[in-house]
Amino acid sequence: MKFAAFFGLTGLVTALAIVAMPVASDAAKGGVATGEPAPAFTLTDSNGIEHSLSDFAGKTVVLEWTNHQCPFVKKFYDEGHMQGWQGEYTAEGDVVWLSICSSAPGKQGHLSANGWNQKIQDKGINATAVLIDEDGTVGRAYAAKTTPHIYVIDGEGTLRYQGAIDSIRSTKTSDIDSATNYLASAVDAVRVGSEVVTDTTTPYGCSVKY
């Protein structure tokens, strides 16, 4: 497991604003089937920088819904598993990893931009960026239900995987090594242009705190 330095997250923190929003009212009604175009979005990261899905055309994009206080998220961060995957996959530049927090202000897992930058430093988070979705618009557009909830999008903007991070539905870090890692299987397949064998699973975790 390696802990690469985090990616350029030392910039200026500006006000957070979502500029372009897909329209959806309810997490249950949003979402698209795997194989369909992934919903477009623009969100601001913890450094005040805007990111649109369309910015990453040609790259494999991982969306990871997160809530740093959720025990299912801690399972993957406490001993560096998630940070390791983030570092490994983004190292060659063809994979973009966006951690998205849809916790509403006042709800579990919500952090200010400053709070996120501190958390990125403390935890050694290696995501390309942490995107703040505090009104839940993007979460609902993807029907993100749990933390973690994983989406993998190919270079054409097609959703190629959605669901659980792995196969053992627990909060125990000790289960990670014996689980089937759906995230890794999907990213590995999309990177080399192969079919994702298991392309939709039921996510597990805490509910997203909309």
Binding site: P71, K145, T200
Partner: protein
């Protein structure tokens, strides 16, 4: 989580067992364990076990006010309570006979589970011969308990049971009788052949069932919710439009899942409430008409 040595086995609830406890001094004992927001205990329906007779235990869970643990399909988030057994040779624990769950919704996401004090019943197969005055069964239990936030918890539990060898009157343990009665009331009944249909209508699945409600009951007081076994078969949260026809047919329109094709079969538990109380629950396993073969999962 795997279920270890548990097996699927089906037993009717024993009624009127007439056997006696060998030693009147020996009693069932175990210990309640608290972890966080939950107190857990293994309890026994009867005061002793009888060789060759399946014996019903319960995992009693007492959740703090406002907290819930989860059903076998936890809903949009959460995790089912899990039991790993450590039993002496010859004893085999069956799967949990899940009582019908309640519905909780937070920010548009569904949770299927239980609040308050509940019991999850489990039958244990008992060998024909037991060469001991008492036996101890142990279990490691894991749960997730949530209110707005979620906390994983667990306990190492045991229950020691006297072994009865003589016929007489084996008593139901009065301390826990109400909890087993609660669970029995929530055990889904089978739907009689020909009394239900499921049909794809647009993106929704229409579930129609007959013969569950007696004539003359106050229609206005009934409501129903379907809890799927397969999390991807329908959208688990949100309104399920309920209609009760003059012919006492229950019609429930279940919103489709936006990310998966419709299921070839609809499988789950239909829970009917009258007023605030659970009236009955029915196991549903029906083919879904109108799902094209090419669409089937």
């Amino acid at each position: 989580m795997q279920h270890g040595e548990t097996s699927l086995c089906f037993y009717a609830v024993a009624a009127g067992l007439v056997l006696s406890v060998l030693s009147p001094l020996s009693v069932v004992h175990g210990q309640a364990v608290r972890d966080g927001q939950v107190e857990a205990e293994l309890i026994s329906e009867y005061s002793a076990l009888v060789p060759g007779q399946p014996h019903r235990l319960g995992l009693r869970l007492q959740m703090d006010q406002g907290w819930h643990t989860y059903w076998q399909n936890p809903g949009d988030s959460g995790i089912a309570t899990n039991i790993r057994w450590d039993l002496p040779g010859g004893f085999v624990a069956c799967e949990i006979d899940w009582p019908a769950p309640d519905y909780f919704e937070l920010s548009g996401l569904a949770s299927y589970g239980y609040e308050g004090e509940i019991v999850l019943p489990i039958f244990v197969e008992v060998p024909e011969t037991v060469d001991a005055a008492e036996v101890t069964w142990r279990a490691t239990v894991d749960w997730l308990v949530c209110k707005e936030t979620c906390v994983p918890g667990g306990a190492e539990l045991f229950v020691t049971l006297p072994v009865a060898h003589h016929f007489g009157s084996l008593s139901r343990d009065t301390r826990h009788a109400d909890l087993f009665t609660w669970a029995d009331h929530r055990t889904p009944r089978e739907l009689s052949e020909g009394f239900g249909e499921a049909e794809l209508i647009g993106d929704d699945i229409r579930l129609t069932v007959r013969g569950l409600l007696p004539q003359g009951d106050d229609s206005a007081s009934f409501s129903a919710r379907f809890f799927p076994h397969d999390p991807q078969s329908i959208a688990m949260s949100g309104e399920q439009r309920f209609t009760l026809t003059d012919g006492r047919e229950i019609i429930l329109d279940l919103p489709g899942n936006t990310i998966s094709p419709p299921p070839a079969r609809l499988s789950g538990v239909l829970v009917i409430h009258q007023g605030g109380d659970l009236y009955s629950s029915i196991e549903i396993n029906l083919p879904v008409r109108g799902v094209a073969a090419s669409d089937r999962k």
